[in-house]
């Protein structure tokens, strides 16, 4: 065990769906404040891995701990969320019938009890926090529009905003740049970089330009067939023969 405590540690995870091994003896650890990018071809088990962390599915075998003491396998989705683990889904999932501001309000850090939902008052600093997030995600003007009426990219931003409102310790971000323009993608990258250090972040991404932008010498993990293929800075990873063979190589040949 290193001196810096791991915020997330997975050991020997296995998960199969009807015979298909989605996660295969996966070991993964994350230090506090890290910004980790996870790449891998389709079916590498990236999304399933996030499902395991957030309690959406349970592994067949293995252990999964958050901040050493919290056994994630014994908790359900909302209990894991309350530990401070937030997730942005691959396809933007926001409350389409609620306004943008209501979406943020539902995500704001704070008690989650029925009692509080009935009698809890919205404090002034919470209002300010929502204004601030709206500004950050550039949706101030659409604050009272229904989230369902937003463009795809805006929904992605709103979902990131919901993560910010939650003030999570660990952010799991699944393909944030999908469906965004180049400029939006760049700004998303900047936003994630600004959060690094304060929060621990895992980003799953396909877009290599984006990966280069946010990794900046940080660790990149390559998943393949539910297992960690290799880990290292983006340049090293891109030149790794195994990676080229299973992933980048195919891309290069195609190009």
């Amino acid at each position: 065990m290193s001196l810096i405590p791991y915020i997330l540690a997975a050991e020997g995870l296995n998960k199969s769906f009807d015979g298909f091994k989605a996660i295969n003896d996966l070991n993964f650890s994350l230090e506090k404040g890290e910004l980790r990018t996870v790449i891998g071809p389709n079916g590498a088990g990236k999304t399933t891995f996030l499902d395991l962390i957030t309690g959406r599915t349970k592994p067949d075998t293995g252990t999964l701990h958050f901040e050493q003491t919290n056994d994630l396998l014994k908790m359900n989705e909302y209990e894991i969320y309350r530990l401070g683990i937030g997730r942005k889904f691959q396809t933007p999932t926001v409350y389409t019938d609620h306004t943008v501001r209501e979406n943020l309000l539902l995500s704001l850090a704070g008690p989650r009890s029925i009692w509080h939902s009935l009698f809890g008052k919205i404090r002034k600093e919470q209002e300010e926090r929502m204004d601030e997030i709206l500004h950050t995600i550039k949706l101030t003007s659409r604050a009272h529009a229904k989230a369902g009426s937003l463009a795809h990219g805006q929904k992605q931003w709103l979902e990131i905003g919901m993560l910010l409102a939650q003030d999570a310790k660990l952010l799991l971000v699944d393909e944030p740049a999908a469906g965004m323009t180049d400029e939006e993608t760049y700004r998303t990258g900047e936003l994630l970089l600004s959060l690094a250090g304060k929060h621990t972040i895992v980003v799953i991404e396909h877009d290599m330009t984006f990966v280069r932008q946010i990794s900046q010498g940080r660790l990149v993990t390559v998943l393949h067939q539910g297992n960690v293929l290799c880990e290292g800075p983006v340049d090293k990873v891109q030149n790794d023969e195994r990676v080229i063979e299973v992933y980048l190589g195919r891309k290069k040949k195609a190009a």
């Binding site: 957030t54 959406r56 359900n76 989705e77 909302y78 969320y81 309350r82 937030g86 997730r87 889904f89 999932t93 926001v94 409350y95 389409t96 019938d97 609620h98 306004t99 209501e102 309000l105 539902l106 995500s107 989650r112 029925i114 509080h116 939902s117 009935l118 809890g120 919205i122 919901m162 939650q166």
Partner: protein, 378 residues
């Protein structure tokens, strides 16, 4: 979240309606302008409206289509009915302290669980407690194992069916079997059939409906209401926002069951009978029709629907008795297909159609402009 203007106008209108129902109607009845029969009929409608709100709180707001709301309604009715049965005393056909059906069954003494129902406050408490407890136990099991959508509907239908079988059979529970309870005489010492008592029962129903309306308005506009609707639209996302969807659903389910039960408890003394037929799944679905017709996801919709459909029913069952079920069924099919937001949603639907027309018009104009660029541009 309402803007001040759109918030105040309806409030005033609703207050006027409430005043009319609670004060003016009974006053007109006392003055002989509104007949006893009409007032009694409206008393029934108001009880139906409570059932409608109970259905809507689950279906319209939380996305849970429950086919057991008529069961909770009937349970409330049965609980209060037990008290009314004991209040008959020796006035029954067999001149016995026991309710007639027990004498008929050959019972010698009152079953133990009937004993406390001599007390009016106890019976009132049970009106809320028994349906509430049933809702809690069933809801706990169903929501804990994440049974939702149509599975929940089917399971509530099974619950209703089981309860119906239990109440039909006098061997399992002594609740009057097929015939249920009837022939009530007094409530709180007053003759239950006198116009004065009926007027008071009507006022009680109107007041209960008003209070339930206000309570639900507050519930659905609080942050709780936001979560409720979030569960309806994307339950899994709610879990990933850290809310225990199961607990929230359970809370709504119990509240809704109790609201239905209050409606049932006020309904039974006004119609003078309660039997297992009242809890049938078909009755729950009929209440769903009221909500669909009136407009789900609103609180005024179920009230309009319950009163409107039942007025239609009173008319149709006398004018075209053979065709009432066909009218009801067809109404339902048409509302589901063409009026998903019900009567309340009609203005919105019309507005949407006009806007779409306008939108199409502007697009067409833009297309025309694009097809024929203005000379200046060239």
């Amino acid at each position: 979240m309402n803007t001040p203007l759109s918030g105040k106008m309806p409030t005033i209108a609703l207050a006027a309606v409430a005043l009319f129902l609670v004060v003016i109607m009974p006053a007109l009845n006392a003055g002989g302008i509104v007949s006893d029969f009409t007032l009694n009929t409206w008393g029934k409608y108001l009880c139906y409206a409570m059932l409608g709100i109970a259905v809507d709180l689950l279906w319209g707001y939380t996305g849970l289509l429950c086919l057991a709301q008529a069961l909770f309604f009937s349970l409330g009715g049965y609980m209060f009915g037990m008290h009314l049965m004991l209040m008959i005393g020796k006035l029954g056909q067999y001149k016995s302290d026991l309710p007639d059906f027990m004498v008929f069954l050959g019972l010698k003494e009152l079953p133990g669980f009937w004993q406390p129902f001599y007390s009016f406050p106890f019976a009132t408490l049970m009106v809320l407690a028994v349906p509430g407890l049933l809702a809690w136990v069933f809801g706990y099991l169903a929501f804990r194992s994440r049974i939702k959508g149509v599975y929940f509907s089917i399971l509530t239908q099974a619950l209703t069916y089981a309860a119906w079988l239990i109440f039909l059979s006098n061997d399992i529970i002594t609740m009057g079997g097929n015939n249920g309870f009837t022939d009530f005489r007094t409530v709180l010492g007053a003759d239950i059939r006198s116009p004065e008592t009926r007027r008071i029962l009507y006022i009680a129903s109107a007041v209960a409906l008003t209070l339930i309306f206000i309570g639900c308005k507050w519930l659905t506009t609080s942050r709780f209401g936001l979560i409720q609707r979030a569960i309806r639209d994307s339950e899994n996302r709610v879990l990933f926002s850290g809310y225990s969807a199961a607990n929230f659903k359970l809370f709504v389910f119990v509240i809704s069951g109790m609201i239905a039960a209050v409606g049932g408890a006020l309904y039974v003394p006004q119609v003078g009978i309660i039997n297992p037929g009242e809890m049938a799944t078909a009755n729950s679905l009929e209440a769903v029709v009221w909500v669909a017709v009136g407009g789900r996801g609103t609180l005024i919709g179920p009230i309009i629907g319950a009163i409107g459909v039942n007025r239609l029913k009173s008319w149709a069952t006398t004018e075209y008795p053979d065709y009432w079920l066909i009218i009801l069924g067809a109404t339902f099919v048409l509302v589901v297909l063409f009026m998903p937001k019900g009567i309340v949603g009609i203005p919105g639907q019309i507005r949407a159609i006009i806007e779409r027309r306008k939108h199409r018009q502007t697009i067409r104009e833009e297309d025309l402009a694009a097809a024929n660029p203005s000379p200046e541009a060239e």
